[in-house]
Amino acid sequence: MSTGRTLRRVLRNPLGGLSAALLLLIVAAVLLAPVIASQDPGASSLSEAFAGPSGDHPLGMDSAGRDILARILYGGRTTLGGALLALAIALALGVPTGLVAGYRGGRFDSAANWTVNLVMALPAMVVLLASRAILGPDVHVLMIVLGVLVAPSFFRLVRGIVANVRGELYVDAAKVSGLSDTRIIARHVLTVVRGPIIIQVALVAGIAIALQAGLEFLGVGSGSTATWGAMLNEAFQNIQRAPRLILWPGLALGLTNCALVLLAGAVRDALEDQTPRPARRRRARPAPEPAESADSAAPRAALLSVRGLTVAYARPDGTDKEVVHGVDLDVRPGEILGLVGESGSGKTQTAFSVLGLLPEGGRVTRGSITVNGRETAGLRERDHRALRGRTLAYVPQEPMSNLDPAFTIGSQLMEPVRHHLGLGRKEAADKARELLHLVEIPDPDRTLRLYPHEISGGMAQRVLIAGAMSCDPELLIADEPTTALDVRVQAEVLDLLRRLRDERGLGVLLVTHNLGVVADVCDRVAVMNAGRIVETGTTEQILGSPRDPYTRTLLAAVLDDAPARAPWQPREARTVTA
């Protein structure tokens, strides 16, 4: 995103605009201190000590009879200037090293990481106190040390982002395009780290100001010069006598830091919120209206019957975007129905509607879904949950990400049977073993003790099928169950599905884009395009003599029957270009 657009976005955000204005105001006031404050910050008149606000001294006087306004303004110079110095040091140290470590990796990266871990193990306050003892009470020297101490936060940020970008294919493409490393960094890397660095600058500025003020508060700063921290220290000394002295320096410090943090937040929002998110407002969920086309000619199947299903997602402006427009389909016991379509056709939305697990913002707006003759569209979450696991089961696409990495296979298989069937630990373990046996996993006892990352993708998919079968469901919703697998493993998983259908009378709704898979296991097929079912029939019918033009286009794109390319001829290319 362009810098100008980001800036406009930040300023249009009320908090962002307000905090930016406040920061500008503070900086301007501090810079113009000699103009605004009529008094010298050091000039004291003991007779006026603790005097309240007056015309000459709008904020009153401190314990030594010095003008508070002047001290706040001049103090800001030391405080903010010191923070700026620390920030500059931190940026100069952290950003270039982070860039190189993230982009190059290797030995430099290891060495830099080791150093950074060492610096991060040091408590900043203790080091600063020690440095003051060593290097003397010069505030600038202390701020340079502080800069070194906070540099790791920039290093880590930049290194992390750059290492990520480094792995992106577009960086590889740029390399292959013949761009030099400096060009690649300028074109692809700097644009990505710019935003996060700005955010981090605001946050680190806050930390630097707080630490600096903390040092001054301890009396470890620059001696007699006015600073916000020193003013707070003085106020603390007199906390019993004049508690109001805390107010102004505290306010200056608190407001500056709040403005910095809020500004960082606004920049982050401006950079992140490029795509509008659906409105998160909890709305009353109206029950789905009955289907318009509920008088579909086909009689409704016993196991699963969907009529006139529409699914819609809430847009940010409150309107709905319909993605499924009146779908009818049926699954009988012992039957595999293939739901076929390309990406965005609405096939997965249809499957999730049956499970009652549409992603956030999505809902069934019209139509009827019956399972074993019982209406489930608009069912309360509690009642839907009772159906899931025991009657309806789900097999996902990506095997690895669908197992909880923190629990063993055994624990994940035992959980549903203990919950639904009320089995004890021992019986549940037996059941889990039996399930692994069912999905033909060799050595179930060993597998039960393994964690998901210790098994292969094919094995993980079997475990997921075992989990789906754990409470003996009647209908399996399988969403592209073999897409992530190699063909040989795919064939084994399809064999397993076929066997479960034949031996257990399981009904399966198989969502897929692969017509080969359809030919292999499906009894009937429903073809879906742009949210509608365009054609339903037996597999032979659909693949052999499709009626709908879309189905025909789809089949025409299949390369199975296309002839293999003829062997290469030396002059092939030359004759054409000549």
Binding site: V192, P567, W568
Partner: protein
């Protein structure tokens, strides 16, 4: 599954007129963690590609098929073996030489979503290889329109961002970027695996059309036998870092000699009920 001398012969054979000639290529990746053993992903691979030819490279995930392409492009370090491109050894080419090579050696990646920088316009992305070769910014921009036309994209696409395009359209942009310097060889790393069936066909047709017109060579890497068979003059089958069989597309994909190729072929389902039933029966009998 050791290769017999008969199987090995075609893959180790060389062609005197080859554009790309890879011999006994070995690549290892360091193991995770300190002093962990290295894992070898390519165990002595040999192949060649002639001018205007497409060599299909088919294998399962983890077989090392993509690593071959990445090694040719210099994106992974080569352990041993040779890569000869247009008569020149390039397996250890220095960065300067690499940048010059990009004029002749290009790539199309699998994922059209991550292979284009989301914050740069299409025109900017297409101008990148031209700028890399020292073309002036103005001239580069002028040539972008021609490139877009070449891949059948509207010329106003140049000013738009990748997110405004579908997967198939983005892949066309990636093809245009690869063609910008009129290369001799393009490594196609699963270029259609992320695309829908109908889009896949149009992208493949575009690649064939470009090859007919420009005489560019392709090293076409894919897991899909049907796609490889459609696209390639010759096909090499790779399994666990070794090439087990190489031959004419028709021969390898209908009468494979190696057991592994046969299993692979029989496990790939076809969109035809009777045909698939036969395949399954054959697979059951074969194992």
């Amino acid at each position: 599954m050791k290769k017999t001398p008969a199987d090995a012969a075609p893959s180790d054979a060389t062609a005197p007129d080859a554009l790309l000639d890879v011999r006994d290529l070995r690549v290892r990746f360091p193991g995770k963690g300190w002093r962990a053993p290295e894992t070898e992903v390519l165990e002595g691979v040999g192949l060649f590609v002639r001018p205007g030819e497409t060599l299909g490279l088919v294998g399962e995930s983890g077989s090392g098929k993509s690593t071959i392409g990445r090694a040719v492009l210099g994106l992974v370090p080569v352990r041993s073996g040779s890569i000869t491109f247009h008569g020149e050894r390039i397996e250890h080419a220095d960065p300067r030489r690499r940048r010059a090579l990009s004029r002749d050696l290009q790539v199309i990646f699998q994922d059209p979503y991550t292979s284009l920088n989301p914050s740069r316009t299409i025109g900017d992305t297409l101008a990148e290889p031209l700028i890399g070769q020292g073309t002036g910014a103005r001239e580069a921009r002028g040539r972008v329109a021609g490139l877009l036309e070449r891949v059948h994209l509207p010329s106003d696409a140049a000013g738009r961002l990748p997110r405004e395009f579908s997967g198939g359209q983005r892949q066309r942009v990636a093809i245009a970027r690869a063609l910008a310097l009129r290369p001799r060889l393009v490594i196609c790393d699963e270029p259609v695996s992320a695309l829908d069936l109908t889009t896949q066909r149009t992208v493949l047709d575009l690649l064939l059309e470009i090859q007919r017109e420009t005489g560019v060579s392709y090293l076409f890497v894919s897991h899909d036998l049907a796609v490889v068979r459609f696209m390639s003059h010759r096909v090499s089958v790779i399994h666990r870092g070794e090439i087990v069989e190489t031959g004419d597309a028709a021969t390898v994909t209908s009468e494979p000699r190696h057991d592994y190729t046969r299993t692979l072929l029989l496990a790939s389902p076809v969109a035809d009920v009777a045909g698939q039933r036969r395949r399954r029966a054959a697979a059951g009998a074969g194992v």
